[in-house]
Symmetry: C7
């Protein structure tokens, strides 16, 4: 198994994404590519204890620290 296969297992499921700057984003994983660019549905972004909501979010892979 390769790491991208593990991301494939998360498709359609709720994930938590931690960014390198400490921000945390949750949502349903709809798509990813080899750059770890993600598309999340019904995404919520927590920053300084405030949460913003997005129906669909395209997230650039190079700011991602981990995905769970």
């Amino acid at each position: 198994m390769k790491p991208l296969d593990a991301l494939g297992n998360l498709l359609g499921k709720e994930v938590l994404v931690r960014l390198k700057n400490g921000m945390e984003i949750s949502g349903k994983l709809k798509a990813f590519d080899i750059h770890i660019n993600l598309v999340l549905d019904d995404a919520g972004i927590k920053e300084n204890d405030v949460e913003k909501k997005f129906q669909t979010l395209f997230l650039r892979g190079d700011m991602i620290l981990y995905i769970s």
Copy 2:
């Protein structure tokens, strides 16, 4: 579906772009490429509570955090 397809679905629509430095840019998505370079029409940039307006804006992809 791949993440770039999700960007394709946003062509011609109003998008919100959040940069890695915290700036936010809104506008109508006119073009994008695999580097996530964007062209926005009627773009507005909010920085320190001041908003600047641009008819057409070429935005470098490597500073983008997310697009919604």
Copy 3:
């Protein structure tokens, strides 16, 4: 249309370039490449409220935030 086509439309015209470090450079766009390296004619650089003038300026693309 791709983003680089939008840059092509700006050739020969006055552009405003915003750098990642906040500097702003204006000038007539004479050339660009896929790295977004630019050549500007009659360029002016504003930094800390002082403006420097350059007849021709080669600007490295990786420091560019947006072009308008």
Copy 4:
């Protein structure tokens, strides 16, 4: 032997991962690729003396300092 072979020897074993920002992550190494992207099972992340637990963690390779 090449460095990636050494990672191969760690598959299925408990590893300690130190990130460039000082965070430490432990878990069972389930997968890796040439970018040093990792998948860890039963992962624990220690940050500011608080530990978070994750059943499966996808970790981006470019933030890794060392693996032991």
Copy 5:
């Protein structure tokens, strides 16, 4: 014309190079490559109002902001 052609026009001429960290280097442009690595003859580096002199200087391209 492409940006690298503009650099070609500067060969053998006195140029001013501004680095991303604010340092300024002047000298006669003797060579360049696609990474914008430069060789300058009779180069002078101004840093904190002190100027150092170098007969020949190899300058790494990735620290360059602009060349004029």
Copy 6:
């Protein structure tokens, strides 16, 4: 001779690795690749005057400043 040949000459020998963040790591060089990823045996890491010991250490090449 190329720089990687010099690393080859160090295989099986005790080396000192200085990282970009100032940390110093010593150990026996067991493997390296073109990204300067290293594997060190019996490695010791000095950080803030505390030394940690590792039987085998995989070290990411992009944080390395020099090897001696």
Copy 7:
């Protein structure tokens, strides 16, 4: 002439290397590659007015600012 040819002319000679973090390293240039990775013999590193000596030093190219 290309910039790497200028480095070739320095082989076997004493060079001064300035790093992006301000450190200065001197030594006899023994080898280099296209990434500007260097091998220096009888190298001396000046940092905070203290000088360390190394018989042979492998120096990663991406931290180099200039070579003279």
